[in-house]
């Protein structure tokens, strides 16, 4: 385990290109045992470091719209998997499904695990956010 602990961001300089910057200790903010899967309209994409943010409007149990914010890995994580900003932005205004670990504060936010785009393409944030 400690060797894994050794693989930390400050010593990752040799991998500066495309390094996966971890802005937060995700477990401090999100509960990995509390998962949520939501389907709704992708309304916003913020494709920047240290982590991307996707906003989804969903109707949960009625007509009232709930706005959910999902935090994902940094852009470099997706770039290494041949997923670019344009791939996600093309889903704006369309229906997507997101699976996430819920925020500990109970807010409508989560740590993105998997997103299914309108064309059926599955975008995984694993292993970073598994």
């Amino acid at each position: 385990m400690s060797l894994r602990i050794g693989a930390f961001i400050a010593l990752a300089a040799i991998l500066v290109a495309g390094s996966a910057w971890a802005h937060h200790n995700m477990s401090a903010l999100f509960d990995f045992n509390d998962r949520v899967t939501l389907t709704g309209t992708l309304t916003k994409v913020d494709w920047r470091n240290p982590h991307i943010e996707l906003v989804v409007d969903t109707k949960s149990g009625g007509d009232q719209v709930q706005t959910w914010s999902f935090e994902g890995p940094p852009p470099s994580f997706f770039r290494a998997r041949d997923i670019n900003k344009s791939d996600i932005e093309s889903a704006l205004g369309k229906t997507v499904t997101a699976e996430a670990s819920r925020a500990r504060d109970g807010s409508h936010s989560g740590l993105l695990r998997v997103m299914t785009l309108p064309d059926g393409k599955v975008v995984s944030a694993c292993p970073q956010n598994c």
């Binding site: 060797l3 894994r4 930390f8 010593l11 495309g18 802005h23 200790n25 990995f32």
Partner: protein, 627 residues
């Protein structure tokens, strides 16, 4: 497993052990360009490859097992003839389980993970015929087992509903697996019954707001040892295990604290149930007489041996284990890490050395060029502190001397203080203290919970700090603002990575590394910095300074007419620059090339003398002894 990464990231630069990171799927992306990728993989291997080494109870080397490789988590089979170990495939970005024959070193690959999946945390079945492990498959963590000769398919034993987990033991009666899950909200120890009918359901043995980890069964499976930081530091404890007890029930007795001077973990029970072993805080391998019939009893810990000092800082619960008979300790011994702070001139000639060899990282020169600030790991206490060393006399002075690890030291502009990063609780903060360690530590800035940061500079006027997270941030140090009220401004936040901000001597520019032009090739760039508008770069495009990529070590000469940086081939480069009226850069020229990768984070190094005549590095000190 993953939680360990997450915890570690908040304690950025905490760990001294790794020279350069072993690639971890999802944590550090390799360049995609094949040549660059191969180069980086070779460097990671060279800096991290470990030699599996068997020691007896007195610390004498019995044998080595196979060639060096990127081994992690070695566990000896019950008969001591084989070792299960985790090994990454850097190119595929996987981790897999291997079993090595102790006598021949021959390895058998047991698991075959898909790209960016992994296996980890092996535990042998009591008869040695199987190995259990944690695997990431299809985006889910699960407990699996497979024949230890690699035959047959792997069997899913239990799939985690969410949180990652770390397997640590298979009970000697074969009935249970033990594992843990821990994060900043605390941790829990679990047992998975293997003989239950139907769907397997884990037993939550113990949940704690503290970090708890490493559960292992006593020989009779009636007790569990584990590590907890409930006292403020890691210690080894034992508590009863009753599979029928409810999760929140108070233990029938205990818990008992076994270690008395800190215990990192690696708590293994001997097969006859009469001895318990663990790794002490100072990395000594300890033994404790124990008994479990009828009640738990234990004696005073005694030192078996301390690993060789050159290998000390790499010894940790994840890199060593003890055999079931207590006769052998296997340690994945890393390359030598003793370092000598060494000053070079512009022609690569060694000008001087600073102090005695030690476990140093990231030397930084004071503004007057007379002292060095370093991260120093104490092999006796395992503490990582900030020290300053007088270049003329070699005298070392602790700036910090405490348990929380400190990192990323930066001199104040006037050379009277040192700023550094330390994580206390859930918060990483920037602190400062007098260079000679006198006086109290002062908190300058505290970041958001759980967020890591790498401090890289303090502006010449003393009014700003800069750090990075992939975003380049600036912290104004207004005197009328309380530390907890200070906010970091996202000076440059883009979809590309921006790191290592360095202020020009006149404070009008910030140099930084970014991979805007080529994701695989960060370059040194410069943009205007306006102290009256520190929330964003001043007008005008970035000026690229490097031509063929850079690794870090950005430094401005005091007169603002020359800059320095390090390439990915470990070349020290110099560039003529002007800052008036606008910033312009000439063609980089090679000063000298370092012999190979050096430990630490070059994006944090500030190791050039103000006149650009001296360059100090923590060079290998093979053969030397620690002071």
């Amino acid at each position: 497993m993953k939680n360990s990464y997450r915890i570690s990231i908040t304690t950025a630069a905490v760990v001294f052990a790794a020279l350069l990171p072993a690639a971890v799927p999802g944590e550090a992306q390799l360049p995609r360009d094949p040549a660059e990728r191969a180069k980086v993989i070779a460097q990671i291997f060279e800096a991290n490859a470990r030699q599996l080494t068997l020691f007896d109870r007195q610390g004498k080397v019995v044998s080595v097992i196979g060639p060096r490789d990127l081994y992690n988590q070695p566990v000896q089979s019950p008969d001591r003839k084989r070792v299960a170990v985790i090994k990454p495939d850097l190119d595929k970005e996987t981790n897999d389980l291997w079993v090595l024959d102790v006598a021949t070193g021959k390895g058998t690959q047991i698991t075959f993970s898909q790209s960016r999946e992994s296996a980890s945390a092996p535990a042998w079945s009591p008869d040695g015929s199987q190995v259990a492990y944690v695997a990431l498959r299809g985006g889910r963590f699960g407990l699996y087992r497979k024949a230890s000769d690699g035959d047959g398919p792997e069997e899913l034993l239990y799939q985690s509903p969410g949180a990652p987990m770390t397997l640590t033991d298979w009970s000697m009666d074969g009935r249970f697996l033990s594992y843990f899950s821990t994060d900043l909200s605390g941790g829990a120890l679990y047992v998975l019954p293997l003989d239950a009918a139907g769907e397997r359901k884990p037993i939550e043995v113990f949940k704690s707001p503290s970090q708890v980890q490493g559960p292992r069964f006593s020989a009779d499976s009636r007790f569990i040892s584990y590590v907890s930081n409930q006292s403020g530091r890691n210690e080894v404890y034992v508590r009863p295990f009753d599979p029928a007890a409810s999760a929140n029930a108070a233990p029938a007795a205990g818990p008992w604290q076994i270690s008395d001077q800190g215990g990192q973990g690696m708590a293994f029970w001997r097969r006859d149930g009469k001895e318990l072993y663990y790794l002490a805080a100072d990395r000594g391998v300890m033994a404790v007489d124990v008994g479990t019939a009828p009640a738990f009893q234990f004696g005073k810990p005694k030192l078996l041996f301390r690993p060789p000092e050159a290998a000390l800082t790499g010894v940790a619960p994840g890199t060593a284990s003890i055999s079931r008979d207590g006769a052998r300790v296997v340690i994945a011994v890393h390359p030598p890490q003793l370092r000598q702070n060494t000053a070079f001139d512009r022609q690569e000639k060694v000008v001087s050395t600073a102090g005695q060899p030690g476990f140093y990282l990231q030397p930084g020169l004071s503004p007057d060029g007379k002292r060095v600030v370093v991260m120093r790991n104490d092999p006796q206490t395992a503490n990582q502190d900030i020290w300053t060393i007088d270049l003329a006399t070699g005298k070392g002075t602790p700036v910090t001397n405490d348990t929380p690890p400190e990192n990323a030291p930066i001199w104040s502009p006037d050379g009277t203080q040192v700023a550094y990063v330390s994580t206390r609780g859930n918060y990483a903060g920037i602190y400062r203290k007098a260079w000679d360690g006198t006086g109290d530590e002062e908190l300058l800035f505290r970041y958001t919970p759980g967020a890591g940061m790498v401090l890289t500079d303090w502006s010449p006027d003393g009014k700003f700090l800069t750090f990075y997270t992939g975003v380049l941030l600036v912290v104004p140090l207004r005197a009328d603002e309380k530390p907890l009220d200070r906010k970091a401004m996202e000076w440059l936040r883009e979809d590309y990575d921006v790191t290592q901000g360095r202020f020009s001597p006149d404070g009008r520019f910030l140099a930084f590394l970014s991979n805007e032009a080529d994701a695989d090739k960060p370059q040194v760039s410069v943009r205007p910095f306006d102290a009256s508008k520190p929330e964003a770069p001043g007008p005008g495009p970035a000026v690229q300074v490097s031509k063929n990529g850079a690794l870090g070590m950005i430094f401005w000469r005091q007169d603002g007419k020359e800059m320095y940086f390090l390439t990915r081939d470990w070349e020290v480069m110099a560039v003529d620059v002007t800052t008036t009226p606008t910033f312009q850069a000439g063609t980089p020229k090679l000063l000298f090339k370092l012999p190979g990768p050096l430990p630490g984070n070059p994006a944090q190094w500030k190791n050039v003398s103000p006149d650009g005549q001296r360059f100090i590095f923590a060079m290998p000190a093979t053969g030397a002894s620690v002071r």
